[in-house]
Amino acid sequence: MQKVCLTVNGREVSAEIDERTLLLEFVRDVAGLTGTHNGCLEARCGCCAIEVDGDVVKSCNVLAVQVDGAEVTTIEGLAPQRLAPVDHITTQSLAGMYRPLEAVRGTPEDLHPVQSAFHRCHAVQCGFCTPGMVMVLKDYLEENPEPTRDDVRRAIAGNLCRCTGYQHIVDAAMEAAAEMRGDPVPEGAAHAMTAAVDGG
């Protein structure tokens, strides 16, 4: 057994764990944050991507003991208001949560720009790959604010999506990039038009 202490989304989490515990298991089972998904467990699908000290990694291929003392950000850490646990779901709380698509923008009160772009562009179908996609794209767009559609496809090469065919995910990444740069975000179905024109 080994004592490991991590800062997960600003909260200190420490535990005595088996040395074999993967970072993914630490985040899900010890920190209790199940937004990070266990997809393939062999560093292929990217559903478990999280940030460790500012760099995105596949948490299924990292031991928790390897990153002892690190700052970890998971998908839950991107949207501060979702950190407060909802222990009682009512019609009212749901009505408060779901606002018209147009109203959701990437602000600290709402969602991270990547998340809100995913929302607007319908880049989510079953949603299993989404946390990993969002974490990798956030890391990528912070480093490359002006990507081409091809760049985005290369950035998410290590993230598999079995539903969307990636088209809407790339749309969302382009919108998120624009929003993160501070450019005006295209309205309505404009992104669908661009996608059709450039074929990718």
Binding site: R20, G46, V56, V57, N61, V62, Y140, R154, A157, G158
Partner: protein, 278 residues
């Protein structure tokens, strides 16, 4: 995964002492991107893991007074991608930035790739291609070894059970005027099926004085071909293809042979046209 004991030394000497103490059951772990995959499948089950993560100085990129580039073994691909390396040394950044995928590049290390000695990995191929030298620390003292002698087979290296690879040393910029790396893979994040490296040095009048063509992926270890400096790209490609299992007619071998031919032609062609960068 089989149970193991976690050891996190602060210095290379401590790490070597731990390896010596725990014998052949102990393994070195840097980023763990290859080792952990194997451990999860239980194809390896070390009794002790000695982590290089806590050793400062192993992830540094420095230049020697003679111009040689010393890359710490625990330097990640991502760090290499971001490093602004001059001249042909920049090929290391290009190669490191175009393998696996973004999250894996943030953990995977150059030394890990060499010690994994997977024939499909790019870094061992490039290290042999530019005639890099590896620095190894061990209980019996430090030693250096050319990359070509370090790689002994698929997953087999010349490193001893109580030794640690500490750095990869690329020769100084004047050693080559152009270095070109090409590879083929089906999907962007796949390991290469075949890769080729061409390192070229020019004479004063601009004609090629020395050419080093290395092919990897098709064989257990990278193969350095005996190519004449004056050979054209097409000649080098034919020579490379002819030296790769010339008698085999099965499809996988023929497929790889054509890849060898194409990639060697491309690298030599590109090296010939590339301007001197030193």
């Amino acid at each position: 995964m089989r149970p193991f004991t976690w050891l996190a030394p602060d210095t290379t000497e401590e790490a070597v002492a731990l390896l010596r103490e725990h014998g052949t059951g102990a393994r070195v772990i840097a980023g763990g991107q290859s080792l952990l995959l194997a451990m999860k499948e239980r194809t390896v089950g070390p009794s002790h893991l000695v982590s290089l993560g806590g050793i400062t100085g192993l992830a540094r990129v420095t230049t020697e007074p003679d111009g040689a580039l010393v890359v710490g073994a625990a330097t990640t691909y991502a760090a290499l991608t971001r490093a602004a390396l001059p001249g042909w040394h920049g090929v290391l950044s290009d190669v490191a930035g175009d393998l696996a995928d973004r999250p894996v590049r943030n953990r995977g290390t150059i030394g890990g790739a060499l010690c994994a000695a997977d024939p499909r990995f790019d870094v061992p191929a490039l290290a042999v291609g530019v005639d890099a030298v590896l620095r190894i620390s061990g209980a019996a003292g430090d030693r250096t070894l050319p990359a070509a002698e370090f790689l002994r087979g698929n997953g087999i290296t010349a490193i001893g059970p109580d030794e640690i690879l500490t750095a990869v040393v690329l020769p100084p910029l004047p050693a080559w005027d152009a270095v070109v790396f090409e590879k083929f893979r089906h999907r962007v994040f796949d390991a290469a099926i075949v890769s080729a490296t061409c390192a070229l040095r020019r004479a004063c009048d601009g004609t090629p004085a020395a050419v080093r063509v290395t092919v990897a992926g098709a064989t257990a270890t990278p193969v350095v071909l005996d190519v004449d400096a004056a050979a054209t790209a097409a000649d080098a490609a034919d020579l490379a293809a002819a030296s790769f299992h010339p008698d085999a007619t099965d499809e996988p071998t023929r497929y790889r042979r054509e890849l060898v031919r194409t990639l060697v032609r491309r690298t030599v062609d590109r090296a010939h046209t590339q301007q001197g960068s030193a």
